[in-house]
């Protein structure tokens, strides 16, 4: 019941929006009223179009996120734990992670065509960095007493990583996973807007060009909902990873 308070703010925002719209204070065609957005959402859902497009974008986002996160984790472990790798690689990573993925879309299109694989590559590219940087930061934060302990127990390098470095880094990695999830979703959509005519991103453009701004907003607002659902699933899944629960900030996050 107390969690319902979280709906207060959105409800107020929607009511205000509807109000300015119906009083004509906001005369722009490209900002439709919430009521219109709702009815167009219902139509899109009924036609099945919503589901198809969402499924496409979801596949691209999750594929990119999973690929990027795994690569980011491995990269982070390498750079965080192997000193020479950091010395002879970190600056390159700093350069790479600032490159705007969007300007690579045409090039990736040459290599992979306008396909979901292209979207996955673009989404993965942005998902790598938060995870890599957080992993580096996390594994280096292993408390000195724990470092001593791991050494006296004579643990293998792998055991040190699994039992000390990763759990220490976990809270930061969890946050990074959540960040890379949203980044992957946004970039999958961007890739659809400029590169691959499919999914939510293309639907946005298409609906707008077909003079249906309400339907376009349906997709934009749907994206946020999709994000919340994905995030909820992520946080929920993490409950089964030992130690990650506290890291994820508990169940309250899921709302």
């Amino acid at each position: 019941m107390r969690r319902l308070i979280g709906f207060a703010v959105p409800v107020v925002v929607i009511l205000l929006w509807q109000l300015v719209k119906s009083t004509g204070l906001l005369p722009y065609d490209n900002i439709p009223a919430p009521s219109d957005i709702w009815s167009s959402t219902v139509d899109l859902a009924a036609s099945g179009e919503l589901l198809t497009n969402t499924a496409h974008t979801l596949a691209a986002c999750l594929g990119g996120w999973a690929l990027g996160s795994v690569l980011g984790l491995l990269l982070g472990l390498l750079l965080g734990l192997v000193r020479p790798a950091w010395t002879y690689g970190m600056a390159s990573v700093e350069v790479l992670r600032a490159l705007p993925a969007i300007s690579f879309v045409p090039i990736v299109v040459i290599l992979l065509a306008q396909t979901v694989e292209m979207e996955i590559v673009i989404a993965a590219w942005v998902a790598i960095w938060p995870v890599a940087i957080s992993t580096i930061d996390g594994v280096r934060g292993v408390n000195p007493v724990h470092q001593d302990l791991a050494r006296t127990l004579g643990l293998s390098p792998v055991a040190k990583v699994v039992k000390f470095a990763l759990p220490t880094a976990l809270p930061k990695i969890v946050v990074a996973l959540r960040l890379s999830l949203s980044a992957a979703l946004v970039l999958a959509i961007v890739a659809e807007i400029v590169g691959d005519p499919a999914g939510i991103g293309y639907a946005l453009v298409e609906q707008q060009q077909s003079l249906r701004p309400a339907a376009m907003f349906s997709y934009i607002l749907l994206t946020g909902v999709l994000g919340i659902v994905l995030n909820f699933i992520l946080v929920w899944t993490l409950r089964f990873v030992p130690g990650a629960r506290q890291a994820a900030g508990g169940a309250d996050d899921a709302a």
């Binding site: 979280g6 703010v9 390159s92 990573v93 700093e94 969890v174 949203s182 946005l204 994905l230 709302a255």
Partner: protein, 254 residues
Amino acid sequence: MPRRTRKSGVAPLRGLLPLALVLVLWQVIGDSSSTFFPPPAAWFSQTWELTSGGALVEGLLATLETFVLSLLAATVLGAVLGLLIGHVPLAERLLGPILEYFRFLPGVALVPLAVLLVGYTESMKLYVVVFGALWPVLLQVRQSAKSADVVLSDVASTLRLGKFAAFRKIHLPAIVPGLLLGVKIAAPLTLVLVLVVEISTQVSGLGKLMETAQQNFQSGQVYGLVVVVGLVALVINMLVSGIEGFLLRYRPQN
């Protein structure tokens, strides 16, 4: 005592070696007549053309200005919101869901909306960029605030520090490492977002140059500008790492 790794530190420039190798390789085996994959020498010559009219410097300055302002705004806003929802349960319940929602909205799709409401101004760029760059700081700060040792809160309350003093002396320093991690993630992201906004509105900046080059099929220039962006990112990162080293100077060094 070699066993402790440095917790922070500026990445040495030797780290550019792998990238340099790739570029050299590209130059050697690349096809100089390729339209989309020209070798690095062509990047340089094509990009050099941009310096003649001052276009490159002008674009760089415009991008940097938006970047600096956006990163500052994103850091402050992210830290404030992160602390608020990390420490105040009511704020978390009230704002948590809507923030979580906003986090996933595709900022690029909102550019037209921002333009409509704010216009083709620098502040429009700022709003859009901050909207997208705020999250790493917010989430990391919130995480740090939540996981701060309870004993520290006990110290604050038994010393009867006022709310403000407790915040300034205990809660704020305790989130500094998390805040810095957030900024480290946010800084390149901010740069990317500035470029994306510039690319899609073509108001000014390196993004505008990049998009123009792309429309002109001057791939060499696109790559050259990408290199410029990478160098900017490297400098920014060194600054952030330097600040981190200074703020966390209390930590063990070895």
